[in-house]
């Protein structure tokens, strides 16, 4: 039934975006493919570069400082391959169902299982958001900005971006910020890596100095948690729906996700390489935070390298704070059946915007509490992400195989084999980590 009075500002704004895409598809001319891609990319690149967040970049830097150039370079590439497989399913489900992930879990599996999924999401999101503000504080702290001012500046940027009340504008501004993740690339070149060593690492998956130790397992977990996490699933599916992508756009959504994974992998590997001088000079970086890395790298990378590194940590925290707080808000609004869109007016979408700003505000506040156990939060946040992933992946695989909602866009057999393999792999890595944690003498220290 067509009743124009039922249309919301969300419909109008989304229709404006879709009209540009439709007219581009209908037309001819040079560069149509690239122009169409420009309009349709966003959620995939954002989710991948958003996941190159402050704790992730610190994990990569710790990896570079403790293991240098070797095994972890191809391993990080592999983890982003896994992230692509997971996120492609997410984008496809969003385009085929036009529903967010939380909403689908509640509708298809009921509130009992939905409740558990939400507890996993909100707990890991809150802790991760805290670490993003730690990153913002550490990054700006390098330049002498007081902690309270740094955190406030980060929060103000999130508020300003959200107040655009337009998904398209929000997405483009956040993408603009996310591109600064590339700052880690020049830092890697300033480390003057030996190219044959880098190529050799990819060809041989080595060296792994010291062999398999309990510390290797912890870093393995941290690096996996730096690429596949529950918030990514919830965020990308909701963002795909909010952007208005349809099943016709699935090929571009795949390119978007693959491009994001490739860029994020390159920047992550660059961070490992950037921190590798600390390994060569035997600097103990096991308890370093963002600013300490920048300080420690100054003698080897110079002022420019240290400054870019600190800016990169700030950017990583900021972009992730924007995307993860949005992920919490999407999930909250979908579960409570409220409007869940960045295209809504403040009056219609106030529960959504309130949830978003509360998620960011509470995390920002926690970072400023004196003597808060921030180091532990950074330590465990990626571990929690890995441990919470298997149940989230099972829900995702069930939805991607649900023909009633997915129609012809259900997972193929190869997609299922790869997705199940990833789930089993994450369970195994989590179990090995648990055994090594409880019985630390099983492996060399």
């Amino acid at each position: 039934m067509r009743n124009p009075q039922d249309l919301t500002t969300e419909d109008f704004k989304r229709a404006l975006d879709r009209r540009r895409i439709r007219s581009l598809r209908a037309g001819r001319g040079r560069g149509r493919f690239w122009r169409l891609l420009w309009l349709l990319i966003g959620p995939g690149v954002l989710v991948m570069l958003g996941e190159n967040d402050a704790p992730s970049m610190i994990s990569y830097a710790t990896t570079g400082a403790q293991y240098g150039i070797g095994f972890f370079l191809p391993f990080v590439l592999l983890t982003f391959g896994m992230a692509y497989v997971v996120q492609e399913m997410t984008a496809r489900i969003g385009a085929a169902t036009q529903r967010g992930h939380s909403e689908l879990i509640y509708d298809r599996f009921g509130p009992f299982w939905g409740f558990f999924a939400m507890v996993d999401l909100f707990l890991s999101n809150l802790l991760t958001l805290v670490t993003e503000f730690i990153g913002i504080r550490a990054g700006l702290g390098f330049f002498g900005v007081p902690p309270a001012l740094s955190v406030l500046a980060g929060f103000v940027v999130i508020v300003a971006v959200v107040l655009t009340r337009r998904y398209w504008t929000w997405e483009r501004i956040t993408l603009g910020f996310a591109l600064f993740n590339a700052l880690f690339l020049p830092v890697a070149f300033l480390a003057h890596p030996v190219s044959s060593q880098v190529v050799g690492a990819f060809l041989t998956w080595g060296p792994l100095p010291g062999g398999w130790t309990s510390q290797t397992i912890v870093l393995l977990m941290a690096n996996i948690g730096a690429t596949v996490t529950p918030w990514m699933i919830f965020f990308q599916q909701s963002a795909v729906v909010d952007k208005g992508l349809t099943t016709k756009d699935i090929p571009q959504a795949r390119i978007d996700t693959a491009l994001g994974a490739l860029l994020a992998a390159i920047f992550a590997i660059a961070t490992i390489i950037a921190a590798s001088p600390l390994f060569a000079h035997h600097v103990d970086a096991s308890n370093f935070q963002g600013a300490e890395f920048a300080q420690a790298l100054r003698p080897y990378l110079g002022d420019v390298g240290a400054t870019l590194f600190a800016l990169g940590i700030f950017e990583a925290g900021l972009v992730a704070a924007i995307t993860i707080s949005s992920s919490s808000a999407y999930a909250f609004s979908e579960v409570t059946r409220r409007p869940s869109s960045l295209n809504r007016s403040l009056r219609d979408g106030w529960p959504f915007y309130t949830a978003l700003l509360l998620a960011a505000g509470i995390s920002a506040f926690l970072v400023l509490i004196p003597n808060a156990p921030l180091t532990f939060i950074v330590l465990i946040v990626n571990v929690i992400a890995v441990l919470a992933m298997p149940p989230a992946l099972v829900f995702l695989i069930l939805l991607a195989n649900d023909r009633e909602i997915m129609g012809e866009h259900v997972n193929g057999p190869i997609g299922n084999i790869v997705a199940i393999t990833i789930t089993v792999f994450l369970c195994l890595v989590g179990s090995v980590w648990a055994v090594v944690t409880v019985f630390p003498h099983i492996l060399p220290a």
Partner: protein, 70 residues
């Protein structure tokens, strides 16, 4: 959006958006409950126990770290 588009009958919105993309459709149409097989339920419970077990391990790790820090 401009004023002309607001004032006109908003048929262009219906032309551009797919029916399932309209907020009214999303509000009105809900996907029903999926019947979970016994195997799926066992898997979901097993993974829930896995997460709870891992939370204990994390708590243990934090306790060890705090003890070491004192």
């Amino acid at each position: 959006m401009n004023k002309r588009e607001n004032a006109e009958p908003a048929t262009w919105v219906y032309d551009v958006l797919e029916p399932e993309q309209l907020t009214t459709a999303k509000r009105m149409r809900r996907f029903g409950r999926q019947r979970l097989s016994r195997g799926t339920l066992i898997l979901l419970w097993a993974l829930r126990l896995y997460v709870v077990g891992m939370l204990f391990v994390i708590a243990y790790q934090i306790w060890i770290a705090l003890s070491g820090a004192k």
